[in-house]
Point group: C2
Chain length 771, copies 2
């Protein structure tokens, strides 16, 4: 118990005075407790008439500057022990027992369940927060189909619209048909003899290569495999090339790499059979397209649907069985090359619209019946109020919605979050509270375009920018044994530190050891952490607000299989059975997730000095500048804008400023009083926000981070100095002279903006003076 004791007494003045003064000019306990044991506790020496004895009493005052992360190390073991695999399994089973499509009754039911769990965990608040967002659904009674018609218009092939049921629990009648969300309705039938064009991954490079080969996709239906880039970008690129529609298929090389016979695939392995279809959104904006930049509250103004940028050509995902059939009939000049097309990963195949004679009178038809609907989608927001700094938030979020059962994406993450909530609830019931407020977030409708998190961020942008310490994202946390982390460089050291405290999930002593071992196979001396993409709900926090964010999951073993994502991703085979049987049967990986999240939350909530890795930010920017300039690009930039070197100078100054600041904190952190502690923390907390350009990156109003951002042509990719590289790319590829010049002008302006942002950032760390 930490409360005050009543009654009079006398105090050892040496201890008390050094404590009192220490708070302000003086010492903090925690890390320096070996040097100054008397400051760690208020030693109340009763020397009243009954005679003296000593009582150790932790001072309320001491709490203001105490580094609880350090002083409560013993709790870490409790937390690690409390994260329970049976609970995790039960959570996952419950969550993935039925499909959780956003906006459906089951989704809302789970929202209420999670809210209730937060309440039961003893949270200080737990609220359902709805937004009315534009979602896209297929027609369950009139499925989207691809058909092939022979010369007499007889249908000789019809695509599947749902997976074959291969395991007893997988036949939920509400399972959603295969579709690409936000793909418009459409009925496209090609003329006989025009076939369809195979465009590999539908990247810009693929289309360029085809153009080089004299194959023009304009006016044609195209077919591409999933992979390399975000599916929404495939649609956009195909649309820009004037294709009439796009079929996307799962490449067996990605989803059934060891063979496609029943014995090789689900339910006999984690690989999937030929009817597995990857659903997903094709909208590549952030949040509700009807309310860009403002929250989709009930009464908010909404753009007219016709004024909204959504895909204009229909898109339909299919499994590899159907793809094989379609390609055989209409995909290109020779079946052998077609097959090759489905397994070759890196080259652009040259399959064009030249059909085999036997199919020359065939045509192909794509019918899509999707429709848009403004739908209520709930976030659940639960908080454990901070004891010392209730107005500082450490946020932890995961979405709740899935395309199907969602056992990996997102429910492995939700299962973890519920367990972490329970564990902190346990501590809280014993009198513990974090220093800062913990905020748990279950996001709605992430799968459609980060709807729930984006709308909430837009709704609370002032609070969040003013008060947030960090955002920790989890999503599909378990799809394999290999840890993968992307984060603001400010969180790179913290996550490494935490992984060293978490027991390994397979054969390593710690998660860090296992993580390092993975990277050792790639000849890296230590784990490599990436910067963030727009792949999940951290996007609004990181790229709209500039709040340091982290996203991590245990993914596929990339040393064994060269695939982008786990095979069952967004298909009907992403089931509880899959995780329970193949991916994490003893739930040690999921336990690892929960343990990491819990300790990371506690680390950022309870450390007195927020433990950002500032130096990593400087180093990463320096490295990325070098990378940007490589291959003559530096010279090219100077040629376009002779003040580019001022940007380089600003980066150098920023690094110096960081180094100076880090040194200052090192020297003073044990002697800071509460106000200075808060001031210094504020400087660090708001540092990443200095990178925010209020109007956004050129042409990207909702992506405002000048230094790191999702790649413009692949929302799953990342880019440093994103505005510069995007504009350079567009200058290089532009054929219109006037546009080229305009873009050069925009680039000059943008380089200047980034320079100013970096200059501001450097000054932001100064000792509160204006110089």
């Amino acid at each position: 118990m930490y409360g005050p004791k009543s009654g009079l007494g006398f105090v050892a003045v040496a201890a008390i005075l050094s404590l009192l003064l220490g708070i302000f000019i003086g010492q903090r306990s925690s890390s320096s407790s070996s040097k100054l044991p008397e400051a760690a506790h208020l030693r109340v020496k009763r020397c009243d008439s009954q005679g003296g004895y000593e009582v150790e009493e932790r001072s309320q005052l001491q709490k203001l500057v105490e580094d609880r992360w350090e002083s409560e190390q013993h709790l870490n073991k409790d937390i690690l022990d409390l994260i329970n695999t049976t609970n995790l399994r039960n959570n996952l089973k419950e969550l993935s027992s039925r499909p959780i499509l956003a906006g459906t009754e089951r989704d809302n039911e789970l929202a209420r369940m999670i809210q209730q769990r937060f309440v039961e965990s003893g949270f200080d608040s737990s609220e359902l927060v709805p937004y009315d967002v534009l979602l896209s659904y297929p027609n369950q009674s009139n499925p989207n189909l691809i058909t092939i018609h022979d010369g007499s218009d007889k249908v000789v092939f019809t695509s599947r619209f749902k997976e074959e049921v291969l395991h007893k629990d997988d036949g939920d009648p509400e399972f959603i048909h295969s579709y690409a969300a936000y793909s418009p309705p459409g009925d496209i039938k090609t003329k006989p003899g025009t076939g369809l064009i195979y465009v590999n991954y539908a990247t810009i490079e693929d289309f360029d290569k085809l153009e080089e080969l004299g194959i023009d996709v304009a006016g044609h239906l195209v077919i591409a495999r999933f992979g390399k880039i975000f599916r929404g970008n495939k649609v956009t690129i195909a649309q820009e090339r004037n294709a009439t529609g796009i079929i996307l298929f799962s490449d067996p090389n990605d989803v059934a790499a060891t063979g496609t016979s029943p014995a090789d695939v689900y339910p006999n392995s984690f690989w999937i059979p030929g009817s597995g279809m990857q659903r997903g959104t094709t909208y590549d904006g952030l949040g509700d397209p009807l309310t860009p930049g403002w929250p989709s509250t009930r009464d908010a103004y909404r753009l007219d649907e016709k004024d909204v940028v959504l895909p204009k050509i229909p898109c339909q995902p299919i499994g590899y069985d159907d793809a094989r059939e379609i390609l055989k009939k209409l995909g290109g000049p020779s079946p052998s090359r077609r097959v090759e097309g489905m397994v070759l990963k890196k080259s652009v195949t040259t399959l064009g619209p030249q059909l085999l004679d036997e199919f020359r009178d065939h045509s192909i038809r794509l019918q899509s019946h999707n429709s848009l609907r403004i739908t209520k989608s709930y976030n659940v927001i639960g908080t454990i109020k901070g004891e010392v700094e209730p107005d500082r938030y450490v946020l932890y979020g995961n979405h709740r919605d899935a395309w199907g059962y969602g056992s990996i994406d997102p429910s492995s993450g939700t299962a973890e979050m519920l367990e972490v909530a329970r564990v902190f609830g346990e501590l809280k019931k014993k009198g513990w509270r974090p220093r800062r407020t913990m905020v748990f977030c279950s996001w709605g409708a992430e799968e459609f375009g980060l709807m729930g998190s984006t709308e909430w961020v837009e709704d609370h942008v002032n609070k969040l920018q003013d008060r947030s310490v960090a955002y920790i994202n989890t999503d599909g946390c378990v799809s394999g044994p290999n840890l993968q982390v992307a984060a603001s460089p400010l969180m790179w050291d913290p996550i490494k530190k935490i992984t060293k405290l978490v027991p390994g999930v397979s054969d390593g002593e710690t998660v860090y050891d296992e993580w390092a071992a993975d990277f050792a196979l790639q000849n890296k001396s230590q784990p490599v952490i990436g910067t963030l993409s727009a792949s999940s709900d951290h996007t609004g926090f990181m790229f709209y607000c500039g709040i340091p964010s982290l996203d991590r999951h245990f993914g596929f073993d990339t040393s064994k299989y060269d695939i982008d994502i786990y095979p069952s991703y967004h298909t009907g085979y992403e089931t509880f059975y899959l995780v329970d049987k193949f991916l994490d049967p003893n739930y040690r990986i999921l336990q690892g997730c929960g343990r990491m999240s819990a300790l990371l939350l506690k680390y950022f909530s309870d450390s007195a000095v927020i433990p950002y890795s500032l130096s990593k930010m400087a180093e990463t920017i320096e490295e990325n500048l070098v990378r940007l300039k490589a291959n003559g690009v530096g010279e090219r930039l100077v040629q376009i804008y002779n003040k580019f070197p001022v940007l380089e100078e600003a980066v150098t100054n920023f690094t110096q400023s960081i180094n100076k600041f880090v040194k200052r904190i090192e020297q003073t952190k044990d002697t800071m009083g509460p106000m200075l502690l808060r001031a210094v923390n504020d400087q660090m907390m708001k540092l990443e926000q200095t990178f925010i350009l209020p109007p956004g990156l050129p042409g990207r109003p909702l992506e405002r981070h000048a230094i790191f951002a999702p790649s413009l042509y692949d929302a799953y990719g990342t880019s440093a100095f994103p505005g510069i590289s995007d504009l350079l790319f567009r200058i290089n590829t532009s054929k219109d002279k006037v546009k080229k010049e305009q873009r050069k002008e925009t680039l000059r302006r943008h380089i200047s903006d980034v320079t100013i942002v970096l200059q501001r950032a450097a000054r932001f760390l100064e000792d509160f003076q204006f110089i």
Copy 2:
């Protein structure tokens, strides 16, 4: 001395414990010092072997929550006494001894002088901060002229280009010629017989009235008097009506109201003679037009001058002697009506281009030779670092540049600021420091479009938004005896409180008494404070950043003279002699300025709970909503957007939220520990920022305050719900049906934005939870 005492001893535990716990859960001294005297000081009772004695010692800890404004009331008297009229007179004399045109050597010399004065005052920092901004100058060897030519092209009239020297100190050879800054060069000669059109004040209403009367100004040179609206808006409006140029003159009714004979005017009174010409800018943007939204650092990207919105038609200011001459010859149908035009204040006169026969062959020529030049302009930034919260800023600024000697505008303010700096320096030399950091700012090039302050705000926007408590603006502080205040409602109560502490500057006991007496003449029960316009350097702080700001000056006695501004404003007669002889011969008004500024600075720097008048914000918004809806406008708004009532509801909720918050603070303010104190202060500090729309008001990217803003059609005016009223006005006046509909759509969107902003603001004051 407040430092720690060494040596062992024993402490009275009752006091110490209540102090210790009080800091966190407990009590603050200050206002509650009568209740808890033991908490105000750390009572060290030594009871070592030598026997006990008591030492009173102010705890360093205590400083964290101490309300120094309350506990150091005795310093207020010192401050009032220290503000010295002789110093003020000396300062003013030095500052106004020569013209201070922005960017000239004298301006830079004064910048260095002020920097040095801050250093001498013992400031912790004092820096020259230059920006390279686009300024506009006339040609000193080829003055701008207006000439009248008779039928044989003989010049029968030439306008003056500088004031007649009437007092011995007024003949500085560097005094700038009469010009309107940013007016383009031009040489316009009218055809004989077309005359020029008198357009009264050149307001929209004036031009509309002329149009009604069948007088089209398109293709004509127009002449207008100063007054009613900002001169830049006159030029813009004339330009929109396709006038070819505009002459602006000082109306004797405004500048020589008691008569124009030499005995009535300068140097025999504060009224001015016929050669007094009002210089000034005609650019109506904020900050350097080449760098809108970003700072004009040396290397910053600059727009091409041709892409910048600056006045396109030439403008030239003249005195009333010349105006009378021109109007007589070319202004309208009858000399008597012309004269009437020069004295009638409120009606549009109907003088058209119909010339008297004798002048029918005359033509008029306007030659302007202004040029643009990127010029280095310095701000001076000095700080007194806060002892407890060094990262919280109370800012106090005034510009330094003038069109001439600038004895009123701005040097009465600068004289005051230097004295306030000296006084706080005195205190500091005796060991005093403020709780929060005080920032003194001498702005460059305000007269050209708030250049120095805007560029600095753009350069430091993150620091400022994150750390600023308040911005106090002074400018021409003394042009008469009547206090006039405009401010964020958050500062309305504070300024009233301060004026009650400052001795009256004329016959009242306090400044408040005098101020209230002025308003009593208008049958107001108490002084009325307005919201801010864009008239001075608070603009960037208030409207770009959302930092609570205040601007005040002692102005003309409006009960005596119905004039907009003091007569010598921006003319060659705004001299030291004018102030010294007529306006404030004993410097009591200037002393009042300095005293108010000093106490206001101390009040915001030293109060533990920042003393904003939160309720005034809610009341003002409520009142302005009622005002907005008056005269059927409410119904019209509902008709355009059926969700307008949601905005009204949001206002009501905001008020409730404010009331709840105020009650909570009242109940807890004496028991808040330092972290909660800081948290609550942060909530209040950032409240006004929740009103900031990141992309700005519709069409106004640098004016981002959704609730209060300068009026769009008069930068000197103010407007509540500015986006709504501007758009309504534009809808009502639009004749193009498509544009009308677009504007309605923009209005709907904007009402929704304002609603969201108010909803956010209400939630911002909640108890740190997300609900």
